[in-house]
């Protein structure tokens, strides 16, 4: 089955992003196809490579980076949601007259159209977290 995974949960404030990570691993292990992982809303923090965790705690963004690279997954971070929250690459910081980057290497910044396109092509869209 083809899945699109939507991550809306903040990786620190809630469990949803970590659940999405494990769901994605399980889907891959069961032989399913991940069409795209789309990070939206507070979920964009899952793609912040500058999020640091104490040694004895899990670093969810690092784990996303690892999973996406390992399986060569298609990972898109909503650009409008991300730049507002400081999850950016050099191109975007330059555009706003700033410097630095914080986006994990394995994901790209793009628009909501990427979520619509992947959803249309998927058998299932599974959303993790969101506003309470």
């Amino acid at each position: 089955m083809k899945f699109t995974i939507v991550v809306q949960a903040d990786p620190l404030a809630s469990q949803g992003s970590e659940t999405a990570l494990r769901f994605t691993r399980a889907a891959l292990a069961a032989g399913h196809q991940i069409m795209r992982i789309f990070f939206y809303s507070e979920g964009v923090h899952s793609a912040n490579r500058l999020a640091l965790a104490p040694q004895d705690e899990a670093c969810v963004p690092d784990q996303w980076q690892q999973l996406i690279s390992e399986h060569q997954l298609d990972a898109v971070v909503c650009i409008a949601a991300a730049v507002r929250r400081g999850v950016v690459n050099e191109t975007e910081t330059r555009r706003y007259g700033k410097t630095g980057s914080s986006l994990i290497d394995s994901a790209e910044l793009s628009g909501l159209g990427q979520l619509i396109a992947a959803s249309v092509d998927s058998d299932r869209v599974v959303t993790f977290g969101g506003h309470r």
């Binding site: 939507v6 809306q8 939206y40 809303s41 409008a80 949601a81 628009g111 909501l112 159209g113 979520l115 619509i116 396109a117 959803s119 249309v120 998927s122 869209v125 959303t127 969101g130 506003h131």
Partner: protein, 118 residues
């Protein structure tokens, strides 16, 4: 063309949820999908006329909702129960909305290809 339903449950201000639901609806319409937007719970407050959020440095959400028909999002729904619970009448609203009973909401959801809960 896929039938996409976006469900919003949050008030227009206080969090970014309402705006993010609306932006997803607009993106769906822009990509030529058949988009419906359903407002549940406090999301029905998004429809209230006369919003003036400048004092809290926010954009007018009601004005953005009004642009939906222009982008071919013709299917705007609200829960009848949520409207009633909050004492909202059609005359309080910034644009016409189809109000649905719980059974009608169940039917609407079952008719979709994909449902997004933002």
């Amino acid at each position: 063309m896929s039938r996409l339903l976006i469900i919003s449950r949050q008030a227009p201000y206080g969090s970014s949820a309402a705006r993010e639901a609306l932006e997803l609806a607009l993106a769906g319409a822009l990509f030529d999908q058949q988009v419906s937007l359903l407002l549940l719970d406090d999301a029905v407050f998004q429809l209230v006329a006369g919003q003036n959020p400048a004092a809290i440095q926010q954009k007018n959400h009601g004005a953005m909702l009004q642009s939906l028909p222009m982008y071919d999002v013709e299917n705007l729904y609200a829960s009848e129960r949520s409207l009633n619970e909050r004492g909202l009448e059609p005359s309080d609203l910034i644009l016409p909305v189809k109000s649905l009973s719980t059974a009608e909401i169940q039917k609407l959801i079952s008719e979709q290809d994909k449902v997004f809960h933002v």
